[in-house]
């Protein structure tokens, strides 16, 4: 005699722990995701170069943001050092893919492995330091990393940067010159497939990690690390693990970034980049799987859209020397204002905004 009828067709209610662990909340979610994937496969046929570029960068950022979210959102270790791991990945790609001509998939994996290794070296710091101290030490990591990137000229090309001649070739398919059934994809459009397939894989991995025993341990560490330790979770293991996974994903994103942009310089991995990634997970929704992807789309697309439409925004100097604030200034200011607005008004991010809209319409017309 069960008090509740099990009915997974109704997505609005989670009634037992098993349901809570489902990878997709309901059949509805699965259908929507399926439709979305079909759309994603077809979209590159129609997207312009500009739109594809925006989505390429957003996808790359999404991979990095999912990584940071595992560390900060799920394990509670605030890291401002993400840019350093991105850089590690980029330069690994530049060296192994560009100078040594390793195949695409191999140097991506190698970059992720190097990222994991560096993460394993940095991770133990999190055991000694907590909260604010950890955040600042990771700031130090970014600056130290920049110095290494600038000084180790044989690999990084120094201050002037290095070109990354690592084409995205998998077997016979070269995604920068993709031809399918006679349709010739542009470089930006071809890259969309590589990047967003990886985003999907990484998101799936992250979701699966989070709903596993390991994921629960990570969240316990986030909620109260002393309590987690008391109930038998090995802090050292899980904190380092979170760093390893997060930095290997960052390095993967960095390798893609290098391969796509074909050129990287130390300036691409400054503190600002770290702050952008933090902003992505905050704006998207900390501790959710979709949040970082939404945040990455938002934070990457916004400045490019503003740049594109700057001549229509009043008070912006669209050419050098004209009066008004520069596009760069406007972007930075909006970026700052957005972070503040989200934290004050909706700390759970875009993901929560969406849930709120959904809840409103579900109860309509009785919603208030």
């Amino acid at each position: 005699m069960t008090p509740f009828r099990k009915d997974s067709a109704n997505p609005s209610m989670v009634r037992d722990y098993g349901e809570d662990l489902h990878i997709f909340a309901s059949r509805q979610t699965r259908v929507v995701l399926g439709l979305f994937m079909v759309l994603a496969v077809l979209a590159p046929l129609k997207l312009s170069n500009f739109q594809s570029t925006v989505l390429d960068y957003a996808g790359i950022a999404a991979i990095g943001a999912i990584g940071l979210n595992l560390l900060t959102g799920f394990t509670g270790q605030v890291s401002l050092g993400h840019a350093f791991f991105l850089g590690t990945g980029s330069y690994t790609a530049a060296y192994l893919g560009g100078q040594r001509h390793w195949p695409f998939l191999i140097f991506l994996l190698a970059a992720a492995a190097v990222g994991a290794l560096v993460g394993a070296v940095v991770g133990p710091f999190a055991l000694r330091l907590r909260g604010n101290y950890l955040a600042i030490i990771t700031v130090g990591l970014v600056f130290t990393g920049q110095h290494v990137f600038e000084s180790w000229t044989s690999v990084t090309g120094g201050l002037n940067g290095t070109s990354v001649a690592a084409p995205p070739r998998i077997g016979p398919l070269d995604f920068s010159r993709l031809v399918v059934f006679g349709h010739r994809f542009g470089r930006d459009q071809g890259f969309l497939y590589v990047i967003w397939v990886l985003v999907a894989l990484v998101a799936l991995t992250s979701k699966n990690l989070v709903r596993s025993r390991t994921g629960r341990a990570l969240q316990a560490v986030r909620d109260r690390d002393v309590a987690a330790e008391v109930i038998g979770i090995r802090l050292a293991r899980y904190k380092v693990l979170a760093f390893v996974v997060s930095s290997s994903l960052a390095a993967l994103a960095g390798a893609l970034f290098g391969s796509y942009q074909q050129f990287v310089a130390p300036g691409d991995f400054g503190l600002f980049v770290s702050l952008q990634y933090i902003a992505m997970i905050v704006v998207g929704g900390v501790g959710t799987t979709f949040g970082p992807i939404l945040g990455a789309l938002f934070i990457t697309a916004m400045p490019r859209l503003i740049e594109q439409f700057s001549d229509r925004i009043p008070g912006v100097a669209s050419s050098p020397g004209a009066s008004g604030i520069t596009i760069f200034s406007l972007n930075q200011a909006i970026f700052g204002a957005l972070i503040i607005a989200f934290l004050v008004l909706e700390p759970r991010g875009i993901a929560a905004l969406w849930l709120r809209v959904k809840a409103y319409f579900r109860a309509w017309p009785l919603s208030y």
Binding site: V78, S151, I325, I339
Partner: protein, 298 residues
């Protein structure tokens, strides 16, 4: 030997500037538990205020300094009042993120008011120097060191003897207990932001006067003051000053000797040296030299 002493003096001068910036961080951290990433832009803002009062309005330098310090304090209090008061009871991470947002917003607001060009704040001390033994001490640096010392002394007196100072210490020690004793924690938070703003303005003036002009990137030094603050311990004013001096001297000594003796570390290694020192010290003492050790409770 003279070279060494000269470098040490330069380090002391640099360190006292770091210390001033770090003191601003420390006072906010001590009262509210938040690292204020916007401290750097508050430093720059103070320098711009002084520039505006002194050069644009033509007020005497000393008066401009006093007014800039007051204005800096006002801005600090305003930030606390308008934004951070809403965040009471929310996770500290959120508040820190807000200060990061402020960093961007303030920097661009300043850039759109005063532009990106370097502004000359004036040079009240000129290039006068005093010679002690074989070491040449510039008057500007001596003023900088004296200023950091004076602010530290003022902090000490303020915390020890004034009512607000006592309330701040109580609130930092235990917020709930302070509330129960009738201390207005909100007012304490407001005061600590105001004081941090005022100290930031002083730091900005000290940094921006003389040969170094005022630019929007002046506040970047706040990032270099992080190691100073961490080194001394996040919640110790004395630690901030000691940390600042240690970091300053290490940095100038590195700049002086590293190219000659350890060239393999690359050019401009002295820029990252503070971070290397910081990481090394934190591994040995996770709460800095004088920071309060956190008690872990369930």
């Amino acid at each position: 030997m003279n070279d060494f002493l000269q470098l040490c003096f330069a380090g002391l001068a640099l360190g006292s500037r770091y210390a001033l910036v770090a003191l601003g961080f420390v006072i906010i951290y001590k009262a509210t538990g938040v690292i204020n990433f916007a401290q750097g832009s508050m430093v720059t803002l103070g320098a711009y205020f002084a520039y505006n009062f002194h050069r644009t309005w033509g007020l005497p330098f000393a008066l401009a300094v006093v007014m800039a310090v007051a204005a800096g304090g006002l801005v600090g209090a305003l930030i606390q009042r308008v934004l951070l008061r809403r965040m009471v009871g929310r996770p500290v991470f959120g508040v820190i993120m807000i200060t990061i947002g402020l960093l961007f917003l303030l920097t661009e607001v300043m850039a759109s008011i005063w532009g990106y060009d370097a502004r000359d704040l004036g040079d009240p001390w000129g290039i006068d120097t005093v010679k002690v033994g074989g070491v040449v001490l510039s008057v500007k640096d001596l003023w900088g060191i004296a200023l950091a010392g004076a602010v530290l002394l003022a902090f000490f007196v303020f915390f020890k003897f004034s009512g607000i100072g006592l309330a701040m210490r109580a609130a930092a020690f235990d917020q709930e207990a302070a509330l129960a004793r009738g201390i207005s924690v909100r007012r304490v938070f407001g005061w600590s932001w105001a004081i941090a703003g005022a100290v930031a303005a002083l730091a900005g003036i000290s940094l921006g006067s003389g040969p170094a002009a005022v630019t929007p990137s002046l506040g970047l030094i706040a990032l270099a003051a992080f190691p100073a603050m961490i080194l001394g311990g996040l919640d110790s004013p004395l630690g901030a000053v000691i940390g600042g001096v240690v970091i300053g001297i290490t940095q100038t000594l590195t700049a002086g000797y590293q190219p000659e003796y350890a060239a393999f570390l690359g050019t401009n290694f002295h820029v990252v040296m503070p971070y290397v020192v910081m990481i090394a010290i934190l591994l040995v003492r996770p709460y800095g030299l004088l920071g309060t050790k956190e008690v872990h409770r369930l």
